[in-house]
Amino acid sequence: MTDKSTAAEPSAPAGAPPGGTGLSPRQKQRISRTLQYVVLVAVVVFLLLRIEWGSLAANFAKPEVAAETWPDVFTVALKNTIIYSVGGFVFAFLFGLLFALMRLSSVAPYRWISIAYIEIFRGLPALLIFLLILFLPLALPGFEVPGGTYGQGILGLTIVGSAYMAETLRAGLQAVPRGQMEAARSLGMSHTRAMVTIVIPQAVRIVIPPTTNQFVSLLKDSSLVLFLGVTGDYVELTKFGNDLASTYANATPILVVGVTYLLVTIPLGYLANRLEKRQGKGR
């Protein structure tokens, strides 16, 4: 902030008035800080006076409506959000690993396929992919995504997630020092054996923190299942909140759903941070 930069300037000796303003750096710093507080208080007072708190609370935090979400918000909606995102994550990880290995393959066409896939699906909005999935049965007559509604949602998240995961895992694989492969080969392991036993386990360890963040991002993207037109037992948090909000013409369910997301995403964010720090120490 502004006062910090002033404080970091020890150049002018105390009492020496620079620039002819007659103010010492310390006085300037005090004035700057006072000003910032004044602005903050002014904004708060303005909001307190201008906003109709009664109407806001009635629309966003109505206890009766909030009570209506219970217990389905956990037993159905959160459960489904977790099914979609964990399912998507597992497949995204597996396919991401496959694409990462293809990306590093000595067979050129494998590299091209992998690069094309990664570039295309990282560059498209996730929503677009979900909309395309809707048209799959039309495009491929007789084709049905296995697993029904769950399958469709998980497929969408897998397509999006695996492109990002492939890049993360590639970086992880390349971060394992060359000497590891050489040591494994010099002990008589085949290339595949060395990859599976020595290189991939280390790469996975390296990418655990960024992967945790990717899971959080998939969890948020699972809200796009909304556009698959799911109903009943298959609704996840966002669809659930949106439906109830329409029913009661009240935004409270959306707020409840928002808090439910945060209950999962914030702890995961902390976890990713801690893993990252611990890894920094271990190496």
């Binding site: 000497g179 494994a184 036993t197």
Partner: protein
Amino acid sequence: MVSPASPVTHAVEIRDLHKSFGPLEVLKGIDFAVDPGQVVCVIGPSGSGKSTLLRCVNLLEQPTSGKVILEGVELTHRDVDIDAARRRVGMVFQQFNLFPHMTVLQNVMIAQQRVLKRGRREAERVARENLEKVDVAVKCDDYPGQLSGGQQQRVAIARALAMSPALMLFDEPTSALDPELVGDVLAVMRKLAEEGMTMLVVTHEMAFARDVADRVVFMDGGVIVEDGPAAQVIGAPQHERTRSFLRRVLDPTHTDV
């Protein structure tokens, strides 16, 4: 030239070995052999190709041309199962290259189990035996990151020995170590040499080369300049290039006029 079908008199034999990286020719025709039980030290200035030569012996680098013959089997032949051949050659790296995600014991067991298909029990017995030998048995359950450089290098030696190799390659095994830790590693290598292990050692430790090696090979510019008994190559070198190198190594403050 000796015929390829000659009896297994050499542990390893190298014939007219060339290696280029792009336009840069690092090895320009190397011929030499190591007999069973011999300790051969390779010395020479950096960039002389000695590490590349060592890495060509177990085909970590693919030679551009020439032959590497291990116990009578030509490794450079297309039809040779290189993974099988490498089992007979242990390698110790400058940077240790222990597997950081495994304990010391697992480091020494893993290749025995996965490559030699030894059972858990036997692999563990062999691992402990070899860790005992290099004097780090007490660290069995630690991870490599918890060990000093000297201990890590000794574990790396045990890991290679556990595969019962016919030949051990050492690629500047003490160059990455703090000076006070060099002695322990050299002591282990000396013990190995005394037990009759066939060893090919790239090193800058002249005292070790003089005392332990049966033969010393001096390389410069991708060729072998001098190859003979340690006492001769280090004590009474025939070539000016060898003399100049040794002067610089033995007395770093000395400059050639």
